[in-house]
């Protein structure tokens, strides 16, 4: 192992097809037209000294180090800003260039501290490198004059000096080390798209400034780390590097937060993680990151992490730390007894969308092959299960149709029910980049999300619909496209079922589905819908990106079908730049679905009732697999309350906090006799558990995650599991304690089993992943290198299926008792139930959930910003502090669900999607009233949680 050093070519790659040949220092090099001389030189292996250039951002030409001579041209042009031309003859090292560079370097160093030995960037400083490259041996100007380096100048304070800004929890800004190369400013603009940084002042007064001369934490900075990565000196440095020192080896792995699935280099010193740096070859993130993946990994060492197995007979007892053997035999006995007393179907599993494909595969195998039933489900139940059903019906596969690179060729983007700048930040940045290049944006969301108006990005149309009216709005869009004749008839005739299309067209063309007829219901002005429909249908490559604002409704599956209809109607399927793109929530929720986590499907989305599919697994596993669909999570809880479902093994999921109608979840868990929680922390669900099996983090195991673009990425172990075992080993030990005889010694063997049984994974193995870096399924004989774009020559199901999408209002309606509609979402710095991010310094950005309420609704209720309010629905009530904002429309309130104290899911109801039982998180009728503080339920809950987390530690051996 070594420290992976990625080549910095100085300027971004050109996409041109025309090739140009030039000569650099006597070597011929051929590059695409539009390439800079600097990049062409680097391609030839010749590094021109540089400071302000880096290939993550456009060339800038400010540092004057990268000068070259070009035969036939006067002067010494900057190689970063000079494009190559045919036959150009370049010299990168001449007497004139040497002297010019040395002179410029001398000036830089005359205003830079010479504390290299004690500097955090020692060993990783481009300024140091370039000083060496140009042979700087002396600084003739001395250090007495004007400078930014020291706090005092003689006996006077130095007014040019600025103290270090340590406000950000993860990195420091030391202005005394800044060479004003603007790389940080440009990274913030071009890569992240936040525009939080600028250069203030002019000439020698120039300084990097977050916001209007603020500190980093108070500024608009979102702490993505792009500036830190871009900085060539110690000016912007990770605090972990300052504390530990430079890393000595690194391993490429995949982030375990959201469904974007960013590739990172885990930079290590021994088994200590020094920093996570986004990997430029990562095809999902292309060298970018967000605050979570880049910095929020400290939870792995948090004091709350549980490292020993624990058991208890009943949930009112304290936990007892025990050996692995005792914990596993206790668990196996309980499960076996439950199955003896209550039947084979009385136990089940929840697989984790946070764990690897291999781990998930083993958990569903546990229930199918060892427990002998199909009672397996996963958190996709509560997020994208409608995507699986809806896209499966329309296209023949639940797969998102594109890769993330596709956005670079999109002309019109529809974002519906997603908030990419918070939920999928790295994709959000890539999207914003394309929008700044001129692509048009349509946002369909009850809330004015950041994308609607953010620096240098403005939506052409924002359709602020009433929560619950997605289907009506999408059908109205289709109405305009069909009645105005904007559809792509050639595409429909060739690729789709023409008869079904005609039924569909007649349905959408009905005047009752027009924007004018539905305006009163949806709250969206008809003219906006007409404008948006025309733009999407005629604006070039149209792509739809959507999230849980689509799926988490009573009509979630219908909305997904409506989205598929729109894409087929306009021919926006089957090539780069278009498509239907579900933004998946969790790092491996795509994978957990692929791996057969659903109770009705074996791996690869094949129904359990199909004998030919069961046969594949039965002959390999030597068991009989039930042909009956198992229980979904809400059904498990219902069955538990009914007394027929008694035991559950939950790997890496916190259903008590994340699932709707908390009281019902709690009642279900309390009714069970063996709840096994396998997790890093004593999460909320563990309050009701009898067995706690300590889990391992993504840094402690090998495996794969599959991201939202179906990309299978390697997860690589960089340190030993602190709890002793990787999660796949623990599941195997549990299976074996139940009598199975599993003998996996490495996750690659599990992947081989997946490939052997699942056609879309047939070509996947660890050797291929090692060679390619990643592949997108389907990866098999037909697509040996994977499939970036789906449905290229036709739909998976044959002909695309248009489905009539009748709007049905949800039963959850506002009325006199509950006049407001609550919708929920997430925020950039926190992740899901917050189990990880709340245990990092990310709480500095968000330490409590707030209720967003419109000024009008707040005034009517006498609520001021920051007041405690009581939030009540027919399910329950909680209290939290109000945040008054016009981001939400009158009549709509919004909150996040990252903190267990808030108990936002006490409010949400048990209504769910008609097809998949995906809960209707996004619409709850509520009332908001002033309050003095926590509700009785919150107080009781906290007390119960405290009681249930008591641990009796094992006596140390004498």
């Amino acid at each position: 192992m070594r420290l992976i050093q990625e080549t910095d070519f100085g300027t971004p790659a050109s996409r041109a097809e025309k090739m140009i040949t030039l000569s650099v220092d006597g070597f011929d090099v051929t590059v695409p037209e539009g390439t800079s001389v600097m990049r062409a030189s680097m391609e030839a292996g010749i590094k021109v000294p540089k400071l302000c250039a880096t290939d993550m951002v456009d060339s800038f030409g400010s540092c004057r180090m990268c000068l070259v001579e070009i035969e036939g041209r006067r002067g010494t042009p900057a190689s970063c800003t000079t494009p190559v031309t045919e036959g150009m003859v370049v010299h990168t090292q001449t007497e004139q260039l040497k002297s010019l560079r040395r002179g410029v370097m001398e000036l830089y160093i005359s205003d830079h501290p010479l504390d290299c030995l004690t500097c955090a960037a020692n060993g990783d400083c481009e300024l140091q490198d370039v000083a060496g490259e140009v042979g700087l041996r002396d600084v003739r100007y001395g250090y007495e004059g004007d400078s930014h380096v020291t706090a005092r100048s003689g006996d006077q304070p130095n007014m040019r000096w600025m103290p270090k800004d340590e406000s950000n929890p993860y990195f420091t800004y030391d202005p005394s080390k800044c060479i004003v190369c603007s790389r940080c400013v440009r990274a913030c603009e071009e890569v992240q798209g936040t525009f939080a940084l600028t250069i203030e002042g002019r000439g020698f007064d120039s300084r990097v400034s977050p916001g209007m001369h603020e500190d980093f934490l108070s500024s608009e900075c979102v702490s993505c780390g792009a500036c830190v990565q871009a900085c060539p000196t110690a000016t912007l440095t990770e605090k972990s590097v300052i504390e530990i020192g430079q890393p000595e080896h690194s391993v490429v792995t995949t982030c375990a937060y959201c469904g974007v699935g960013c590739s990172f280099k885990a930079e290590m010193r021994g088994e200590e993680l020094v920093r996570m740096v986004p990997y430029k070859d990562g095809k999902a993130n292309r060298g970018h990151s967000c605050v979570k993946g880049r910095f929020a990994w400290g939870y792995a060492n948090h004091q709350d992490r549980i490292l020993n197995p624990m058991i208890r007979d009943t949930i009112d007892e304290p936990w007892r730390e025990v050996s692995w053997e005792e914990a596993l035999s206790f668990t196996a006995n309980r499960l076996k007894n439950l199955q003896k007393d209550y039947g084979k179907e009385s136990v089940g599993v929840i697989t984790s969308s946070r764990c690897t494909n291999e781990e998930t595969f083993l958990v569903q195998k546990l229930t199918r092959a060892v427990f002998g039933n199909n009672n397996t489900d996963t958190c996709a139940r509560v997020c994208h299960s409608p995507t699986g059903y809806g896209l499966g019906q329309a296209f023949g596969t639940s797969a998102g149709t594109q890769d993330f690179d596709s956005v670079e060729q999109t002309d019109v983007v529809i974002v519906i029910g997603a908030n990419p700048t918070d939920g999928h930040p790295v994709f959000g940045s890539r999207l914003k980049k394309r929008l700044r290049e001129g692509a048009e944006l349509i946002v369909i969301d009850p809330r004015r999300i950041d994308l609607v108006r953010t620096p240098h990005v403005a939506a052409a149309h924002h359709l602020p619909l009433k929560p619950g009216t997605n289907v009506a709005v999408l059908t109205a869009l289709a109405h305009v496209i069909v009645t105005e004749g904007l559809m792509d008839e050639a595409f429909i005739r060739e690729r789709c079922d023409w008869d079904e299309f005609q039924d569909y067209a007649a349905f959408v063309a009905d005047p009752r589905n027009s924007p004018e007829a539905t305006e009163a219901m949806t709250g969206v002005p008809a003219a906006e819908i007409r404008g948006a429909a025309r733009l999407y249908a005629t604006g070039g490559n149209g792509a739809i990106y959507y999230g849980l604002g689509v799926t988490e409704h009573s009509q979630g599956s219908t909305t997904v079908m409506a989205i598929a209809n729109l894409a087929m109607l306009t021919g926006n399927i089957g090539r780069p730049g278009v498509g239907v793109n579900p933004l998946r929530g969790q790092n491996n929720v795509q994978g957990s679905c692929d791996m057969g986590s659903f109770p009705h499907e074996l791996p690869g989305y094949r129904h359990v009732s199909k004998p030919e599919v069961r046969d594949i697994f039965e002959s390999l596993w030597g068991v009989t697999i039930s042909s009956e669909p198992g229980l979904r999570i809400p059904n498990m809880l219902d069955a538990a309350v009914d007394g027929t479902f008694k035991g559950i093994y939950i790997q890496g999921e916190d259903i008590l906090q994340s699932d709707p109608d908390t009281k019902h979840v709690a009642a279900g868990l309390a009714a069970m006799e063996c709840v096994i929680v396998h997790d890093l922390f004593l999460n909320e669900t563990a309050n009701y558990a009898h067995v706690f099996l300590p889990g391992s983090t993504f840094l402690e195991k090998d495996g794969t995650f599959t991201n939202a673009e179906r990309r299978i990425n390697r997860v690589r172990k960089v340190m030993s599991p602190k709890n002793g075992y990787a999660d796949w080993e623990i599941t195997q030990m549990l299976a074996n304690a139940m009598g199975a005889n599993w003998t996996y010694t490495h996750p690659s063997q599990v992947m081989d089993e997946i490939a052997a049984t699942t056609p879309s994974f047939a070509g996947v193995n660890y050797d291929l992943l090692e060679e390619k870096g990643s592949v997108q399924w389907p990866c098999n004989d037909a697509n040996p290198e994977g499939s970036p774009v789906m449905h290229v020559d036709g739909f998976v199901r044959g002909k695309g299926k248009f489905i009539v999408t009748e709007y049905v209002a949800t039963d959850e309606k506002s009325g006199p008792r509950f006049p407001l509609l609550l919708t929920t979402g997430r925020i950039l710095s926190q992740y899901n139930v917050g189990a990880q991010t709340r245990r990092t310094a990310n709480v500095m950005w968000h330490d409590e959930d707030r209720l967003e309420i419109h000024p009008h609704d707040a005034e009517q209720r006498g609520i001021r910003d920051g007041d405690y309010v009581r939030l009540a629905s027919r399910s329950g009530e909680t209290s939290l502090r109000a945040l008054i904002t016009d981001r939400v429309a009158p009549g709509v309130v919004y909150t996040t669900f990252h903190h267990p104290g808030t108990q936002a899911n006490v409010i949400t109801t048990d209504f769910s999607d008609w097809a998949t039982n995906c809960p209707e998180y996004k619409v709850t009728a509520v009332q908001v009233t002033p309050s003095n503080g926590p509700t009785e339920w919150q107080v009781e809950y906290e007390e119960q949680a405290k009681q249930s987390r008591r641990i009796l530690h094992a006596e140390p051996a004498e």
């Binding site: 179907e345 009672n375 349905f507 009573s554 599956s557 219908t558 109770p599 009705h600 129904h607 009732s609 039930s626 009956e628 669909p629 198992g630 229980l631 979904r632 059904n635 219902d638 069955a639 309350v641 009914d642 027929t644 009539v804 999408t805 009748e806 049905v808 039963d811 048990d910 769910s912 008609w914 097809a915 998949t916 039982n917």
Partner: protein, 74 residues
């Protein structure tokens, strides 16, 4: 689960399939329930049907015969 909830879930499915041609709708409801409802849920539905199917959508009642039966001791 509570009978009300079961009826609501069945009716939600029927509501979607009502926009299909009638025969296709009946088959759609039956297949959907057969494919996604665990035997305990189907047994509860058959119980409700045996008691007259109060509150159930006519499309569910019509689909009832085509819903996969529940084997004893399954």
């Amino acid at each position: 689960m509570s009978p009300d909830k079961l009826v609501r879930m069945a009716n939600q499915i029927a509501t979607f399939f009502r926009s299909k041609p009638h025969d296709e709708g009946v088959v759609g409801v039956a297949e959907h329930i057969s494919n996604f409802w665990e035997p305990r849920m189907r047994a509860q539905l058959f119980d409700a049907l045996a008691k007259g199917g109060e509150g159930l959508d006519p499309l569910v009642l019509e689909a009832a015969d085509r819903i996969r039966p529940v084997r004893e001791n399954a």
